[in-house]
Symmetry: C2
Subunit: 303 residues, 2 copies
């Protein structure tokens, strides 16, 4: 009973945080009539403000608050990473990539604005993210920390992280990767950009090196957990709740955890990862109650 | 006679500099067997090392040397901007954008590696550029200056600069812009990324504010000059020397300076811009001989 109450309290707390994140994205994104690039701004706003779970921004804010970092700076950091996440979704959905017509319950960016504009909107969001990150020093963050954060995010997004993972994923469609390779792909493609907000928030907050180390291992666990859940939801999720078509992996004959381990195997892996993630949190000096609740939420998510 | 000798001397000096730039790009780009993303690295190296005039990197190095900035730092800055330039070419050539099959005398990136990989290679180069820029502080550049440079480049590349210009250009295909609008498009699409190396090198070198101001006006002139020459070459250039198909603008019914002003009008505009650019250089305290020679070279270029 106590536990249910705590979960409910956290959920409403998180909903409020998501609203704040959406408000900041809305305020900070270029307005539609700004400097005449109105179609570009429409296209960017369409995808960024289409909903989304804001897990990355929430992880940044919740992690940074553990070490009493400045809330405005954390919000800026989290929102910048949401831009990079959205950029990757817009490009991934293109016909030359995953060829998805729907995203977050709405037509994909290229279905509304055309492929050319979708490519440019993605490019623009990636660039804007680095602009936001490099402006962290205007939020009482030192230049040294700001630069360390910019570097973390370039590593997480680039060829060693998200984009590299997407390349391996594109190429794996032809081969059928082994479980080890699949884990590598996911740690890069999804994990890197879930790890970045956690690590960057800890850097921003000046968390001790041992805490940063533990948080990195924690981030790896939830990166994989997130992907295993994604694969499971693609098999048994509800298209309407998910906001994207289910069964896409099977149709594309993608190598997924349910394919490699069976649906039950994938579910038990999800449970194990969730426990390991929470176990790691117990090693932290800071109060990690909310991060643990985030793990429960990712484990239980149905969209 | 003296003048011809000086031009020859500068040309051989510039050729040497271009070789150095190419060597650094080759060394700094991820190797093909690195971390298994070999197709991505092949695709990136293919386009970055395909030749190119290296005007942006050369402008960075020549500008910074005027104020005795560190050569390695200038090289890093210039090469990062060349990555962004190459990213923009790869994405511009895609079928959904300008649909060009040739670039720098070779098949366009997407013709060799496919559209999906071309999109990812562009994304990866843009990200890598910000990684290289944010590492300037490892080259004896202060964190403050490094961040100022990252911010300059995000502005020059993003919706207020190159990417915004590309959007206006995409949209102008439907309308037929007036000369003022055409100038605006070019100042954003081409000018911004020619201005960035000049301004960033001056910032890196700690040039006085008045010099930075004059250099910005100078950069605007050569940005436009570059584009006017581009339009002229598309009419009367040689496909083989240019390394891309001529007459593409006319076929696309693009609004260009020769269309708006006639070929003679465009040529006299190029002459005027070249003189105005060199006139601005005379206001500088630093020795701008080499930048003036760059102007002559851009004015006389046939590729």
């Amino acid at each position: 009973m106590e536990e249910i109450k705590a979960t409910e309290k956290f959920n409403s707390h998180l909903q409020k945080l998501i609203l704040e994140i959406n408000e900041h994205l809305d305020i900070w994104l270029p307005k539609i009539d700004e400097d005449k690039c109105s179609t570009l701004h429409k296209s960017c706003r369409y995808s960024v403000l289409a909903g989304g779970k804001r897990i990355r921004a929430a992880l940044a804010v919740l992690t940074g608050r553990m070490y009493r970092a400045d809330d405005d700076a954390l919000m800026r950091l989290g929102c910048a990473i949401e831009l990079i996440h959205t950029f990757s979704l817009i490009h991934d959905d293109l016909p030359a990539m995953d060829d998805d017509d729907f995203r977050r319950g709405k037509p994909a960016n290229h279905k509304v604005f055309g492929e050319g504009m979708a490519i440019l909107a993605g490019d623009s969001l990636l660039t804007l993210a680095f602009s936001w990150l490099s402006s962290l020093c205007n939020y009482n963050v030192s230049c040294e920390k700001t630069l360390a954060i910019v570097r973390e995010v370039t590593e997480a997004s680039g060829h060693k992280g998200m984009i590299g993972g997407q390349v391996l994923d594109l190429e794996a469609e032809k081969t059928k990767p082994e479980p080890e390779m699949l884990e590598r792909i996911h740690l890069m493609k999804t994990g890197a950009l879930l790890k970045a907000p956690i690590r960057c928030a800890a850097i921003l907050a000046g968390a001790p090196a041992e805490e940063l180390e533990t948080l990195s291992s924690f981030a790896n666990k939830i990166g994989l957990l997130f992907q295993v859940k994604d694969d499971i939801l693609d098999v048994e999720g509800n298209t309407e709740v998910l906001g994207k078509t289910t069964g896409a992996d099977a149709r594309m004959q993608k190598s997924t955890y349910p394919v490699l381990l069976g649906l039950d195997g994938a579910k038990s892996l999800a449970g194990r990862l969730s426990n390991e993630a929470k176990e790691l949190l117990r090693h932290l000096q800071a109060d990690s109650t909310e991060l643990a609740q985030m793990v429960d939420l990712i484990y239980a998510r149905n969209n």
